[in-house]
């Protein structure tokens, strides 16, 4: 409960800051971005995050689960290792690498975010299935559940909360990283931050940074609620 109060106050402060700056006439040499521009960049930012996340979920969750299956287990180390390597490259470097590889704009930005957002989801999906108590799966097999039934009725429901945590962490990370997309002309709230940086007006930087932070906190909060809601009742019991 106390956490909720802190979260909501933080959101109010961040949105308030944004409104306050946007309402200003002139800040030093610059005029603040208008509500229209703010809305446009926020939408664009959100679009990048959602697109990249959907791609990461669609590929990361099945891939993470796949490498826990017999016959594919040998792939676990290279796949998880690959994703680890992806995230160990500085985000700025990934964005920069995209330019010679894929050029500028929205597509290359999504590709960069994909590489950065993949690891938390891949790792959590893998761990979620792998960490299920083997006795549970053995009991299910011993009672004559087919592989498909075990996956559907036992493994997936038990893994879902952990997979959802991966999705939440990945989303929050990607909201932040997406500010760098402005460097390769993909727009988003990063454009406002950069404008502030280049013109040396900290308040303009804040005009882009505050809504970015608010978006990260807001999405994180919503996804946490979904995660709780998806956790089977039997697993919510404190043991």
């Amino acid at each position: 409960m106390r956490r909720h109060v802190i979260l909501v106050s933080l959101l109010v402060v961040l949105v308030g800051l944004t409104v306050w700056i946007t309402n200003m006439d002139k800040i030093g040499v610059m005029e603040p971005f208008t509500y229209g521009e703010m809305l446009k960049e926020t939408q664009r930012h959100l679009l990048m995050v959602v697109t990249a996340e959907l791609a990461v979920i669609l590929i990361g969750v099945p891939l993470g689960i796949l490498v826990t299956r017999p016959g594919f287990r040998k792939l676990a180390t290279p796949v998880i290792g690959g994703a680890n390597a992806g995230q160990s490259i500085p985000s700025l470097a990934i964005v920069a690498i995209m330019v010679p590889l894929l050029g500028m704009g929205f597509g290359p930005a999504i590709a960069a975010l994909f590489i950065w957002g993949l690891l938390p989801i891949l790792r959590n999906s893998y761990a979620a299935i792998n960490n299920i108590n083997p006795a549970i799966v053995e009991a299910a097999r011993g009672m004559g559940m087919t592989r498909g039934q075990i996956a559907r009725k036992i493994e997936l429901p038990l893994a879902l909360p952990v997979i959802m945590t991966g999705i939440r962490v990945s989303t929050v990370v990607v909201v932040g990283t997406a500010t760098l997309a402005a460097l390769i002309a993909a727009g988003g709230l990063g454009r406002i931050i950069l404008a502030g940086v280049f013109s040396g007006v900290p308040l303009i930087t804040l005009q882009g940074a505050a809504p970015t932070a608010a978006m990260a906190i807001g999405l994180g909060f919503i996804l946490e609620r979904i995660e709780k809601w998806m956790t089977p009742r039997g697993l919510r019991i404190e043991v």
Binding site: I136, A139, G142, L158
Partner: protein, 371 residues
Amino acid sequence: MIELEKVTKTYPDGTEAVRDVSFEVDKGELCVLLGPSGCGKTTTMKMVNRLIPITTGKIFVDGVENTEIDEDELRRNIGYAIQDIGLFPHMTVAQNIETVPALRGWPKDKRRQRVEKLLELIGMNPGEFIDKYPGELSGGQCQRVGVGRALGADPPILLMDEPFGAIDPITRVRLQDEFLRIQQEIKKTIIFVTHDIYEAIKMGDKIALMDQGQLVQYDTPASLLYRPKNEFVENFVGADRALKGLQLIRVKEIMTSSPPLVEADEGTATVEQRMQYEGIDWLVVVDDEGKFLGWVDRANLAAGQLVSDIMNSSATTATANAVLSEALSLMLSSGLKILAIVDRANKVEGMLSFDAIQKALSEIAQRGESE
């Protein structure tokens, strides 16, 4: 009912986990697979329901070779309970127990009836537990539900891998006793794996003692104790086999049924008369429902008017299904020379004296050696 014929399991790396094991378990019999860890007992058991594929040899279940049956279908016909229980934590007790009935497509009300019946069988109140989650149960309760789940669709055969392994000794003894009571009622054909010789002697109709993948001796518990086939069996059974023989006899076989009782609100004068009449120095004290309260000793009679004033309250009791070693242990730890035997409702069914145990022990030793 279950027949193993020259069963061998060799792993790809060449280790022979099980070699040339043959034995038969008759219908309604509980066969214990016993041996030190790594002797191949669990592997042998898991080859019966094909959780581990057999290398050579044959296993017949009810006359049909188990490789002829679809493996999922085979397993739905064989109850399975394991040491780590493996209850599904996201499902209620009811959903856990009805796992196999649901796989079989039983209608909902039939499943519900079955769950309620099984919960009563395993000594759990359906009204209280049916919608609980495993996370809300104690270790002993989880073990019970695990056994209930194995019995879900009333399979004729049960495989149990140390089903009472992961619980405290007291609960364990109670679950063993209760399971034996259940088994008398349901008469399943059971393969029961354990490394605990006490448990084996207590639970088994037959014991298959294994060592290094081979079957060393397949016999009744008494024969295993008193006629060990070789040195390994002798060592495994141990030098205290006379004491282990106490596991072979149940309290109900030698207890005195309907012992002299007295109610707590009776006067000491009548009690004295009865003691004189029956020629004894003590009486079992019960309440008006026949539930055990304690003992009254002749030496104390003068100290009060009512039995309740002078009785020795006691909570030390055993059940008729307990084995003598447990009864003896209770006597030794409580300092009693006689033990009240009660049913599940704590009503007195009989009593057991130290002398009776001694007599039974010498009889079993003679019987085992001359068999």
